[in-house]
Amino acid sequence: MRRRLTDRPEIPIAPMIDCVFLMLVYFMTTSSLEKSEADLAFPAGQAGIPADPLPAVDEQRLFAQPGGHLLWNGTTYRLDASGTALLEKRLLNFRDTCLQAGSEPSLRIEPEDTVSHQELVTLLDTITRSRIETIHFP
C-alpha cells in the first residue's frame, strides 16, 4: 500500500509539555526573589601599626548617640534626611578646609553601645558622600 502524501510525520509534544510544566513548577516553588547584598567598606584599623611617614592629619570626633543623633563640635544632628544633608555640607566644608591647609581630613567615630546598625550605616553613608576617606573607630 502506498502512503498518502498528506501523512506527515509528527513529533509528539505532549511529554515535552509535561516536562516543561514540571520544571516550571519546580523553579517557581524553589526560587526566591532576594535583594542582592551591597558592600559598605569601613576601616577597622590595626593596633600597634604606625603609619610611616605620618601625614598631617586633622581629626574630628563624632559622637553617635542612640535615637539617630550625632554630636559633632557642640552641635547635635539628627540622622534623618535634613539632618544628614546639613551634616554632609559641614563635613564637606571641613574636608575642603583641611585640604586647603594641606592636612588630611580624618574622622573618629565614637558610637555609644546602643547605637543601632542602621544608624551607623546612615552615618557612614553621609561620610562617604562627603568624600572623607579616613575614618577610625575607637
Binding site: 509534544i13 509539555i17 516543561v20 510544566f21 520544571m23 516550571l24 523553579f27 517557581m28 524553589t30 526560587s31 526566591s32 526573589l33 535583594k35 542582592s36 547584598e37 551591597a38 558592600d39 559598605l40 567598606a41 569601613f42 576601616p43 577597622a44 584599623g45 590595626q46 593596633a47 553617635a64 558610637p111 555609644e112 553601645d113 546602643t114 547605637v115 543601632s116 546598625h117 542602621q118 551607623l120 550605616v121 546612615t122 557612614l124 553613608d125 562617604t128 558622600r129 573607630f137
Partner: protein
C-alpha cells in the same frame, strides 16, 4: 500558552540560584552609598544576631560559634588567608556593642579589610 510557559520557565531558571548560600537569611540595614560588587572576592562571613538579653549569636559562614570559637576561627583564617576580606552581617537594630566586640576580635587576629553587608536603598 506554550510560549508563555517557556518564557516563565526561562525566567525562573535564570533568576533562581541553585547553590545554597552559606549565610543565614536575615534583614540588613539600607545604605544609600553601598554597591553590589560586580565580582565578589573570596571572603569570610560573620553574621551576628541578637540573642535574648544582652547576648549575641555568631555565625561563621553557616556555622554557629561562640565568641571564643570565633576568635580562634578569625586567627586561623588570618594565618591561612592573610588579607582576605571579612563580610560582617547583622540586622538593622543590632547595637554597636556587638560590632565593637567583633572589630576588637578582628584587630587581635590582624584582619583589617572589613565590609558591612547592606541592601541598596
Amino acid at each position: 500558552m506554550i510560549d508563555m510557559v517557556f518564557l516563565l520557565l526561562v525566567f525562573f531558571m535564570t533568576v533562581s540560584t541553585l547553590a545554597k548560600d552559606a549565610r543565614p537569611d536575615i534583614p540588613l540595614p539600607e545604605s544609600a552609598t553601598a554597591e553590589v560588587p560586580e565580582e565578589v572576592p573570596p571572603r569570610d562571613i560573620i553574621t551576628v544576631l541578637p540573642k535574648g538579653g544582652d547576648g549575641y549569636q555568631f555565625h561563621w559562614h553557616n556555622r554557629v560559634a561562640t565568641e571564643a570559637e570565633l576568635a580562634g576561627l578569625l586567627k586561623e583564617a588570618a594565618k591561612e588567608t592573610a588579607g582576605q576580606q571579612l563580610l560582617l552581617r547583622g540586622p538593622p537594630d543590632l547595637p554597636w556593642s556587638a560590632w565593637k566586640m567583633i572589630i576588637e576580635l578582628c584587630r587581635e587576629a590582624g584582619s583589617a579589610d572589613l565590609v558591612f553587608a547592606t541592601h541598596e536603598s
